[in-house]
């Protein structure tokens, strides 16, 4: 657990440093995710998957523990919305309409495009 957490935090730290150093428009943790993915891939190459299975405290179980309540982690920032509700007094209707309609539009456009593209460009080996 401690070891897994240290690896995860190290990935994030390196990610933050890289983002700040390069001015890349990415969140540090996303770069950290790519780094952890690379670590998993390298480990998968050199260790047979049976030895890295599901022992308690492994990277897998620790990550799953963090992700199990991903929703919870957005609550503290979400509560802060109350501090800025005054901007809605002026442009409330425009902002509410824009957020709701544009979110629906983005969901539909993305999902429909994904399905259509998956049908058009079938990867080799996949059946029709």
């Amino acid at each position: 657990m401690l070891f897994a957490l240290t690896i995860i935090l190290t990935c994030q730290l390196v990610g933050e440093v890289l983002v700040r150093g390069s001015g890349l428009p990415m969140p540090g943790p996303v770069i950290g995710m790519v780094l952890l993915l690379a670590i998993l891939a390298i480990r998968g190459r050199f260790l047979p998957s049976t030895t890295v299975a599901e022992e308690a405290g492994s990277l897998e179980t620790t990550s799953r523990g963090l992700l199990a309540h991903l929703s919870l982690l957005f609550v503290p920032a979400g509560v802060g919305v109350i501090e800025h509700l005054d901007v809605f007094a002026t442009y409330g209707l425009a902002l509410a309409a824009s957020v709701v309609l544009s979110t629906v539009a983005a969901l539909l456009a993305t999902a429909v495009t994904f399905v259509a593209a998956a049908r058009w460009f079938r990867a080799p080996g996949e059946e029709a």
């Binding site: 309540h69 957005f74 509700l85």
Partner: protein, 240 residues
Amino acid sequence: MTQGTFALWVYLSRTPLLWLTVTLVAYLVADWISARTSRHPLANPVLHAIWSIDALLLATGTPYPTYFEGAQFIHFLLGPAIVALAVPLYEHRDTVARAAVPMLVALLVGSIVAMGSAVLIARAFGAPPGVLIALAPKSVTAGVAMGITEALGGDPALTAVLVILTGITGAVVVTPLMNRIRLRDFRARGFAVGLASHGIGTARAFQVDQIAGTFAGIAMGLNALLTAILVPLALALLVR
């Protein structure tokens, strides 16, 4: 007695312990209700935990910074949790690799629609350019979205609010919307909600399906990058 209670309140309201515990309790209650309603979209635990804590802060006259001193310990875990998304991503790497082309096409279309429609709709309702700048990156995870707005001279605090509201909207709407159009591909559903509603959408996707959650996480990361590149372009075209 009243004096004693008051002294206790003064003490408690200033320690991180109180608001940390309140956040956990509010979330557990909201999550319990969500589980009891078999994860009904309207019982979204983020939404209900947020307003109940806000109500408590208002009722007790507690300023947000005081609350955040306690809640920051939970907030901190957001970064490590995003790093941890690598684990489901690695587990489903074959499924992900096979969907590379649909993902990239959907990313491009979805990102443009998310930005373009937000700006055009708000403009039609008469919002000024300053507000449009803050609105454009609303589908992107908060840290990046605020950075984009700041770089373009908008108000990052407004962006933060819009990002959270967009996240909750997408998380609540995605399941009924996709059922309505009978779209059952969990890769596509997850990818859409991660793109449109960043982490809050990704959390919702993981509630529903592991594959959906994995694709949502990828979409969240990719859209952060693409939106940062496209927003200045979109604003140059759409904000006149």
